[in-house]
Amino acid sequence: MGSNMAEAHPVGFQWVVEAKLRGAKVIHIDPRFTRTSALAHTFVPVRAGADIAILGGVINYILTNEKDFREYVLAYTNASTLVSEDFRDTEDLDGLFSGYDPETNTYDQSSWAYQGHEEELGGTTHTERETAAGLQQESHGPPIPGDVARDDTLQDPRCVYQVLKRHYARYTPEVVAQICGVPEEKFLEVCEAWTRNSGRERTTALVYSVGWTQHSVGVQYIRTGAIIQLLLGNMGRPGGGVMALRGHASIQGSTDIPTLFNLLPGYLPMPTYDQHETFREWVDSIRHPGQKGFWANAEAYAVSLLKSYFGDAATAENDWGYGWLPRMTGDHGTYQQVMDMIDGKIKGYFLLGQNPAVGSAHGRAQRLGMANLDWLVVRDPYMIESATFWKSGPEIATGEIKTEECRTEVFFMPAASYAEKEGTFTQTQRMLQWREQAVEPPGDARSELWFFFHLGRRIRERLAGSTLPRDEGILKLAWDYPMHGARGDEPDAAEVLKEINGYDLTTGQLLTTFNQMKPDGSTSGGCWIYTGVFADGVNQAARRRPGQEQSWVAPEWGWAWPANRRILYNRASADPDGRPWSERKAYVWWDTENNEWTGHDVPDFEKTKPPSYRPPEDATGVQAISGDDAFIMQGDGKGWLYAPSGLIDGPMPTHYEPAESPARNPLYGQQANPTRKVYDRPDNLTNPSPPERHSEIYPYVFTTSRLTEHHTAGGMSRQLPYLAELQPEMFVEVSPQLAAERGLHHLGWAHVITARTAIEARVLVTDRLVPLRIEDRTIHQIWLPYHWGNEGVVTGDSANDLVGLALDPNVLIQESKVGTCDIQPGRRPIGPALLRYVADYQQRAGLAPDHHTPIVTTSEDGNHGEQ
């Protein structure tokens, strides 16, 4: 679901094909029939932006028919945990959970807590939203007490199992059909296949991609999938799991060792200026003294990181240089930055491996922002649109950017491609794979490593002797790497990987596991979860032993974090007593003879802690984890069907309509995610959705995604004739019915209009898109690839120019997978006429510059009721 794996991940899709050849049934659920659907046994068309409804329907099917894997659910999930008496569900509050604050549009989550722990989780979550705090949970759950009240009969009306059952009771097959347009028999086929193929003997894998994440409820989409996989016992077991296919090579790596504003390596939070003034405050906010779990060791990871950053300059006396780290003061996410650029608050900008003029949502805002900088550095193998917007971007035609007046000084630095530099990729299974340099980059092209090392070196030379406190951190950096390569000035990437792996500073030996890290400054490590990648002095990521020469888990192909473990939480592949659930699905188990965990993979559990272990009453940290707490990074050791903390928008996923939708939410008065992050400004207007009037001005649903033939914003494919010729023109796919309704002709021109702009494309009329029956009306969906821009061998309008900025509150990702639009035959107006054309649409839709999209639309709120 939310994935076009065959087209966007064709190499990975070979394993789906292989599974299919071995008898696996493949189901594809998507707004349109893609090359993935072509290879699936069953294709289920669904309305874009309605995935929680269909998945909620699956949960309802499981609970109503008691198809859950009960022993697994009782042992390894929080199904039996009792929830606070104060908790009120969306079913009670017309689409809101208890604790909603209409001032900040966030929740006070104390009423979501487990029973008896309401006091511990107070306050609004406004700051968490501004800092996308949900991202910290990539490696561990949020803090939660372990001593909780339970009802193992699952009968107590306050237990999670019953709360969940009530929450999804209305998500019946009829309602699913009504919301998603999925015929009931197709939906039931999915439910039956999924449940029948799960349990002791069988497991089902769930695959998603950015079709799930890029929504204003994106995180909750994934939560819904996770709930199903927990209920069916598919987590921590071979052939199960929730597989997130990432959007680029090494996107996983760029969250592990983040290019994000709110994280430090290994999911340590970036400190905020008011909450984490001292090192102690910062570390305690991570490790939560007194609680159980592996994060109790966070101080060792934090100190080791600072030792890697600052070397000998980091001492106990100066809190390991904590004062030199930057602090967050609010939302510094990519879209806030764009707004700040437009507003003149940001002066300089680095773009590396990124082409926001084409690849980011709301392209016009991206370009107008970049046109208002003092300087911009673009590093890319090709002259991309983000480097040329000042002379040939779409705003040149409309007169919004004038070349002679554009103040931005653009520095274009030619970049080496992936084959011209060495280093690692970290792929979706957390696996690091080393790649060698194949050829020297041409001309002045250089690697990222070269660029940043020498930039840092030159800045440090420039700052040498400075006594300004602000320069101290840069001057204290341990900035010394051995050089090699044809020119003798290329930093050795393997040495950087060793630094990331970490050293015992007393002996100079490389660490083999993060358990060796110490909080006393005697160890270093640039990313604690990567410790072990250079175990025994060997580049473990460079291992390429063929599959047929090793076990089926293939532990000697690359290296996966943490500790080369291939399946996380694999303790759950054995029953509470440590025996495999079935011979067929045996993976990790308790060896009663040697009294240790063993199996095909590295056990995700303390090796010698027996299944029967129960912690003493006052235990904390790792000691407090029971022998059957399979989900060791969660505060209570359980997989969460219900999330008492950690999510901004609710403890359970709820169907909200997208920020732009032609349909009224059939379940609740609350139309869209009430906590979504909005940038409510005249240059980011949102198309009206019910209950607002005029949604008929933008009557169709559009969604965007990729083609196999092109690479993201096209920088590495539209420049290459062999790829460009395979998909030479920007096009839009429409159903024959919509083509008839709007007078569109196959291969003719059409243009698509939103409140942001209008773009043009050639028309492909295809049966692969079908109109959906939603309630009593027909909803047409159109599809656009987003690869085109105005540079390269083949050019065209950019689909991302259509997308507005409404963000998921947990991780601040934009809702670019669904929006509303109009489509008309013929080409769009050019020049200033385009602006007038778009403005005319805005006016008819009631989008005056002072227009504000209502956030809360529950029936209690009389102002925004049905009109």
């Binding site: 899709f13 070979q14 090359r35 072509a38 290879l39 015929p183 062999y722 083509a739 008839a740 196959h746």
Partner: protein, 335 residues
């Protein structure tokens, strides 16, 4: 020349005079696992330095290559088939491909694309396609049991026929049979006469506009010599394109077909595997999920030179007859 050299099952390398030829090598293209990624097209061009084929949106589903040509030696066809007995995705009468037009300038006649693949284009069209007097196109409708929309993808390539018409008619010896049983054009010998083009029953071989010479798949003859897999098969992520000894591939294909038919794919079939067919079987054969015409392949290809012995026989008879009548005429005059 052996008596059956022009038709029927033979080992082409041995027949061509190789002593102790290595096993015949070929492709088995299993279209049931093709994901239409076109990696084969790109890998082929990269390895063989084939130029790009123009930047034209053809509107033939996702096929913007149009067909096999001098500048495209692999071609992935895309065929969108509406459900026959409709359930969720009914056939839409409005969905007509305007025409099987192609701007590819590499066809034998300017402006006319390779004829065979126009049929593949037509596979996406509706009843009004070109106003032809046919009610519907192959595979587009019928009484089959299939209830779902289907999107067929197939990577087409030179068939490396057992009896290769192109080779038989080549007057310069540019086209030759390799020791692996494949058929290769030698670009430094080809004089651009173009005889090979109408001789190919599949419409594969083609002249390049700017140099006039004939070009087609070499089955990566240079790679084979070094024991390497041809570029397209190497790049194929799902093993839709399989390379190997033809005998082994045929066995594998038979097993795969049996499995698919067991699973209810009753219209699955092998194409080009039968050594009794009009070209003596193909060195590159296919597993198809529908009739060959649906993919733009001729249902019953025949090598034109198959009838050469007959023709010579008849020509000989005719000559004899003429001689006889001349003799009779002269004899009569004498009388």
């Amino acid at each position: 020349m052996a008596s059956n050299s022009l038709f029927g099952p033979i080992d082409p390398a041995t027949d061509a005079g190789y002593e102790a030829a290595p096993p015949r090598m070929g492709f088995f293209t299993d279209t049931s696992v093709c994901i239409g990624c076109k990696a084969c097209e790109v890998a082929c061009k990269e390895w063989n330095l084939v130029p790009d084929d123009g930047f034209n949106l053809l509107g033939q589903s996702y096929d913007n290559t149009g067909g096999l040509s001098a500048n495209s030696w692999r071609h992935v066809a895309f065929i969108e088939q509406p459900a026959r007995a409709h359930t969720t995705m009914p056939a839409a009468p409005q969905s007509n491909v305007a025409a099987a037009r192609t701007d590819v300038r590499t066809g034998t006649e300017p402006g006319i694309g390779p004829a065979v693949d126009a049929l593949a284009a037509a596979g996406t069209a509706g009843p009004e396609f070109l106003g032809m007097p046919m009610s519907d196109l192959p595979g587009r409708s019928g009484d089959g049991e299939r209830t779902d929309f289907r999107w067929l993808m197939m990577s087409n390539v030179c068939k490396h026929c057992t009896h290769a018409g192109c080779l038989d008619v080549c007057p310069t010896g540019s086209l030759f049979r390799t020791e692996f049983g494949t058929v290769v054009v030698q670009e430094d010998i080809c004089n651009g006469c173009g005889y090979c083009i109408p001789a190919c029953p599949y419409g594969v071989i083609d002249r390049r506009q700017d140099d006039g010479r004939a070009w087609k798949c070499t089955l990566c003859y240079d790679r084979l010599g070094d024991g390497l897999t041809p570029a397209c098969a190497k790049a194929c992520p799902t093993e839709s394109i399989q390379f190997g000894e033809l005998d082994v591939l045929r066995e594998r294909a038979d097993a795969r077909l049996a499995t698919l038919q067991e699973q209810g794919e009753t219209t699955a079939r092998l194409y080009g595997e039968d050594q009794g067919d009009g070209v003596g079987g193909d060195g590159a054969f296919f597993l198809l999920l529908d009739e060959p015409e649906v993919y733009g392949l001729p249902p019953d290809p025949e090598v034109a030179t198959k009838y050469l012995p007959d023709m010579w026989k008849r020509a000989g008879l005719a000559a004899l007859g003429m001689v006889a009548s001349a003799v009779v005429a002269f004899a009569g005059r004498r009388r």
